[in-house]
Amino acid sequence: MESAATTNHMEIVYERPVTLTDTPMHYCPGCGHGVVHRVLMEVINEMGIQDRTVGVAPVGCSVFAYNYMNVDMQEAAHGRASAVATGIKRVLPEKYVYSYQGDGDLAAIGTGETIHTVNRGENILMIFINNAIYGMTGGQMAPTSILGQVTSTTPYGRKSDLNGFPLKITDLVTQLPGAYYVTRQSVHTAAAVRKLKKAIEASFKYQPLKKGTCFIEVVSNCPSGWKMTPIEANAWMEKNMFPLYPIGDLKVPKQN
């Protein structure tokens, strides 16, 4: 039996931030979505901006984001998250506004919205979960699927002549003058998670400066859609996705 004395000396070093609801997540074991949710909500908690933050979720596996993220949340129609976020930010310019989208949502059906949101330099944070597949609808090829990748709609592997090339949309938006801070991160190790956290923190700190769009790609996984165990999935991601989608900053604000 534990003595009262021992209990009193126990220090809490890690707990659920108040910005994350006490709800079991529906994500598959090993999925990156849950980790990104947690890190994002930790930052919002630590910066003390919970009451001033508004999120826009996509249609994709993260449709239930409102269930976990304890800030004002709206799920937009498929691909339209950054457009809805634009409307919100324009009428509530003092709020911290972010969109959270998958690769199908942001880089296929929402490509137009993505390009124009960044090109306008909309003062929001766009979080982009690139798992190289349409997770929610059962593992079809996404624009970010890599060459050779077998999905339910590329039974012989993705071929460039048939399906085109993987779309590096983060590189594309980096070119736009409205982009203020663009970075590519991941969540497969503790060190990677810490780096993502710093990137999210920086993005929210930049937002009141009204200097343009912050864009964070998270190279992530989809063990279910890829038909792999979580460990296999992370290994596959490191081996096949990182060379194509290298981790690191693509555009950092100029020091002045």
């Binding site: 249609v59 129609a77 059906i109 349409y134 059962g138 090829m141 624009p143 709609t153 039974p155 399906n163």
Partner: protein
């Protein structure tokens, strides 16, 4: 003595059978974007067409998916895409473009619960009005509605025939239950014929893009990349396909777009009538609910009640003659459909004048035999 062919049984979903029906009808081009409950058609078409060396491609959204199909069809390729409510909303622009340019195309629309993203895995028959009345100007779009996997095959096959012969977009309006449920299908009983194909022009020199004397005529096809110059536009145009305002010939073309379909509504009617002598109640249904209706009818007849039943496979153009025939001697009409307002009932209302009309309606789950039975007196 009749010889019956050996049954060739396979366990298939309605979605797979739409794909099989399309390929049998000569479909050589498919473009898709994933969406539950229609993704099975996308996957099956990739599997079936790529194996044959035909084109099955992934689009970045439904707007592109349908536009790819229209482009391929402009060259004469039989083309299809598949979607559900949210994707359909994005396709409406290009459906109108296909209608206006008289380009055949088939759209498999597998309904789920709406509005908006609605319920991706919940069935519904809530898009009857949305699918039919989606054109500016209010043109008739032919709609076929299957209730079984075998019907998915037959009606998709027919949809290609209609699209080709009428030069217009045709919809196969399925639903989640029909699309995603696996059932036994006897392939030996399915058509092994390809349906007719549009007539192509042979005389290029004198040909106008849309050559017709009477509004009801379907002009011969001038395909893109062929011998004659093609001029197609989604804007109002004359018979040469030139953008015009409201001169007589342009208005004639606009009337023709509707008349070529409306004038053929008797030959396009597809219904199954199960009449009973002396019945005063007629039950009308379609799609998945037609199966519930057929079950109900079996049950109540066993109890000694008299009832007739009409399953409608061709929702549009409305098979008005078939409905009137089924109504002879009937005083009470029960219309069962899985939406809250009775969408098809509202379409049929003008035909049912003077009858007692009752709707069996529901959202969120399938209508049960007991719910229809309650309305059979």
């Amino acid at each position: 003595m009749t010889t019956l062919s050996e049954p060739k049984l396979r366990f298939c979903t309605g979605n797979q059978m739409i794909a099989e029906g399309a390929v049998r009808a000569g479909c050589r081009f498919f473009a898709g974007y994933p969406i539950t409950p229609a993704s099975g058609i996308y996957k099956s078409m990739i599997d079936l067409l790529q194996r044959r060396g035909d084109v099955a491609i992934s689009a970045p959204d439904e707007i592109s998916a349908l536009a790819y199909c229209v482009g391929a069809s402009m060259r004469g390729f039989k083309s299809m895409t598949a979607t559900s409510g949210p994707g359909w909303a994005l396709m409406i622009e290009t459906i109108q473009y296909a209608l206006m340019t008289e380009t055949p195309v088939v759209i498999a629309f597998v309904q789920r619960l709406g509005p908006s993203t609605g319920g991706a895995t919940q069935g519904a028959q809530g898009d009857i009005l949305l699918s039919e009345f989606c054109t500016s100007g209010g043109y008739t779009i032919p709609i076929l509605c299957p209730s079984t996997p075998a019907e998915c095959f037959d009606l998709t096959h027919k949809a290609f025939a209609w699209a080709e012969m009428l030069r217009t977009p045709v919809i196969v309006l399925s639903d989640k239950e029909v699309g995603m449920t696996s059932e036994c299908v006897d392939f030996a009983r399915l058509s092994n014929q390809a349906p007719p194909t549009r007539k192509h022009k042979s005389d290029f020199a004198s040909s106008k893009m849309y050559d017709f004397a009477e509004r009801v005529e379907v002009p011969e096809y001038l395909s893109v990349g062929g011998m004659g110059k093609v001029t197609a536009t989604g804007s109002a145009h004359n018979k040469s396909g030139e953008l015009k305002k409201n001169d007589t010939e342009t208005l004639e073309v606009l009337h023709h777009l509707e008349e070529k379909i409306r004038s053929r509504r008797s030959e396009l009617a597809v219904t199954t009538f199960d009449g009973q002598a002396g019945a005063e109640t007629l039950v009308v249904s379609f799609g998945i609910t037609a199966r519930t209706m057929r079950e109900t009818v079996r049950n109540v007849r066993r109890l000694g009640k008299k009832v007739s039943a009409l399953s409608i496979q061709s929702l549009f153009p409305v098979p008005d003659e078939k409905i009137k025939e089924a109504m002879v001697g009937i005083s009470r009409i029960v219309i069962a459909e899985e939406n809250f307002s009775g969408q098809y009932r509202s379409v049929l209302a003008p035909l049912l004048y003077g009858k007692e009309v009752v709707g069996v309606n529901k959202i969120g789950s399938m209508i049960t035999p007991a719910e229809i039975e309650e309305q059979i007196v």
